[in-house]
């Protein structure tokens, strides 16, 4: 851990404002049926520490693939990804990941799930308990510590999944359409809670979504991706004050402008190919 921290510090000195640097990255999947499937092409992206970046694009544009590459779940086909200055090779233990489905470990209780990433090396038993307790309270899951994931509602499971990623305090959280399957009200409540947690912690968040309103409402910057082969079409800076009120986001100054610009880019995308496959 000590040498990791040291390395991280060194890289911060050389690149003070970038936590994730995606350089010229392409990803090609080799499928048995089709020839090579190009999922991402020449992706260039810098993400700064503490930033809330949303990535938006049609289904099948490779936005989830980008997250998986940053997490190190699969290797890049070309280019490289630097994380705090180090090239990502293999599983990246410095990120937290919130998958589309909650993917809580179904055999562990809520508190065991949340504490699962808290290694005994970094957290004493007491620290671990305090940390788990803190996040469970933060997510409004008090009283459900001993419940198994199968006993939770969709929204509760989603909260538990998010705090599981936050609890071990990785500097970056990657979120892959985490609110996709939820109903509209639950979605808004969770977006609101996510922003509140983020205001306190200011971890870097990369948040993939296909919902333009969500993309604008949450982000400092919105990365717009085009259809396969996935490319970055534009990056929009969102000039809206924080803290934001998710429930009244449409009335907030700067929303219309940002949404308008995003839609202007996006409407051209909708004509290209029918969205069919999952991203």
């Amino acid at each position: 851990m000590a040498d990791l921290a040291h390395e991280a510090q060194q890289s911060r000195q050389t690149q003070p404002d970038v936590v994730i640097k995606v350089q010229n990255v392409s990803k090609i999947f080799h499928t048995p049926s089709q020839a090579n499937l190009s999922a991402l092409t020449d992706i260039e992206l810098d993400i700064r520490p503490g930033e809330f970046v949303t990535v938006v694009g049609p289904s099948g544009c490779g936005k989830s693939t980008l997250l998986k590459l940053i997490a190190g779940f699969s290797p890049v086909s070309a280019g490289r990804i630097l994380f705090q200055g180090d090239e990502v090779q293999g599983i990246n233990t410095r990120v937290g990941y919130v998958p589309q489905e909650s993917k809580l470990f179904p055999w562990l209780t809520v508190e065991e799930n949340v504490g699962f990433g808290l290694s005994p090396k970094r957290f004493s038993k007491a620290d671990r308990e305090r940390q788990v307790d803190y996040f469970i309270k933060l997510a409004g899951l008090s009283g459900f510590e001993k419940y198994y994931p199968a006993q939770l509602s969709g929204g509760m499971g989603k909260r538990a999944s998010i705090i599981r990623a936050l609890a071990y305090e990785p500097p970056v959280i990657l979120m892959d359409e985490p609110f996709g399957p939820l109903d509209a009200q639950t979605r808004m409540v969770l977006q609101d809670e996510l922003l509140k947690i983020w205001e306190q912690k200011r971890q870097t968040i990369v948040f993939v979504t296909h919902d333009l309103v969500e993309a604008v409402a949450l982000a400092d910057r919105v990365v717009v991706m085009t259809h396969r082969p996935g490319k970055i079409k534009d990056v929009i800076k969102i000039n809206m004050a924080r803290p934001r009120d998710i429930f009244e986001i449409h009335r907030q100054e700067g929303f219309d402008d940002a949404y308008g610009r995003l839609w202007e880019i996006f409407r051209h995308e909708l004509h290209i190919g029918r969205p069919s496959e999952h991203s």
Binding site: I91, T93, W107, S119, A150, S153, G155, M156, Y168, Q185
Partner: protein, 269 residues
């Protein structure tokens, strides 16, 4: 026609089912008892009363107990060792592509052998005592556990392993806190389906060559037309399988309680 299922009709249905089932079982034994000695020679089918007497005498004299103890030992050694070896190899194949690529065709080819046909070989190799039967039990248990565990490893949602990896979880914690829980339904299926086969293995071994054991007892009794004792042996084996299965079921239910506890809570968000 509209169907209304009240709790009363469910209750009376349960009673009806139980009554009819009991009537069939009791009727079967009565018919058996009645037919024996009247329509069919007793040495062919014996009779429930004779079987009960033999069972009692067998245990009373201690003979049957000794045979049961021998068979129990063969299973008590061969079954857990075979299960653990099969589960371990299935896990290793799931973890190592290289290992799987090298050995998978070999294992599948070996699986094509009717395994009970190997029992005489085991007698040649390991003698007519305990260890040849342990070998057959091991073999029958091993493959079923191996295939089920390996299937579990291939069906497993790999995202759990990836997520645990991000959290820095590896080594024994990854194996026992993530992978084994994830594949445990498959592992338990392997264990439970292999229980009757473990007993078959012991009996086949004893049929081929032995001086004691329930299989030996059955074969000897049949040889001298003590048909009641043949049935006694079969009953002992049946009870053995049932007890083992009940124990496995209890362990399974306890280990997989996260799966069965699905009482949902109705709370918004």
């Amino acid at each position: 026609m509209p169907t209304t299922t009240t709790s009363k009709s469910i209750f009376s249905r349960t009673i009806t089912v139980t009554l009819i089932r009991s009537a069939i079982v009791v009727g079967f034994f009565l018919a058996w008892e009645f037919a024996s000695g009247r329509w069919i020679e007793p040495f062919l089918i014996s009779s429930p009363s004779r079987i009960f007497t033999s069972l009692f005498n067998g245990f009373y004299s201690g003979d049957l107990l000794q045979h049961t103890w021998v068979t129990f030992q063969e299973i008590a050694i061969g079954f857990p060792v075979g299960a653990i070896a099969g589960i371990g190899l299935g896990y290793s194949f799931g973890r190592s592509r290289l290992l799987a690529e090298i050995f998978e065709p070999i294992i599948i080819a070996l699986n094509g052998i009717p395994r009970t046909a190997l029992a005489p070989l085991f007698i040649v190799w390991l003698g007519i005592g305990l260890w040849s039967k342990v070998g057959v039990v091991f073999l029958l248990t091993f493959f079923l556990n191996f295939f089920n565990t390996y299937t579990g490893m291939r069906q497993m949602d790999h995202e759990y392993v990836d997520l645990a990896g991000l959290m820095g979880v590896k080594g024994w914690k990854l194996t026992f806190k993530v992978i084994f829980p994830a594949i445990s339904p498959y592992v338990f299926t392997g264990i439970r389906t292999s229980i009757p086969f473990a007993v078959i293995g012991a009996i086949v071994g004893e049929f081929v060559a032995a001086t004691e054991g329930v299989g030996f007892f059955i074969r000897m009794s049949a040889g001298i037309f003590k048909t009641a004792d043949v049935f006694v042996g079969i009953i002992v084996l049946m009870i053995m399988v049932i007890i083992m299965d009940r124990i496995a079921e209890m362990v399974e239910r306890r280990a997989l309680r996260w799966q069965t506890q699905t009482e949902h809570i109705q709370i918004q968000a």
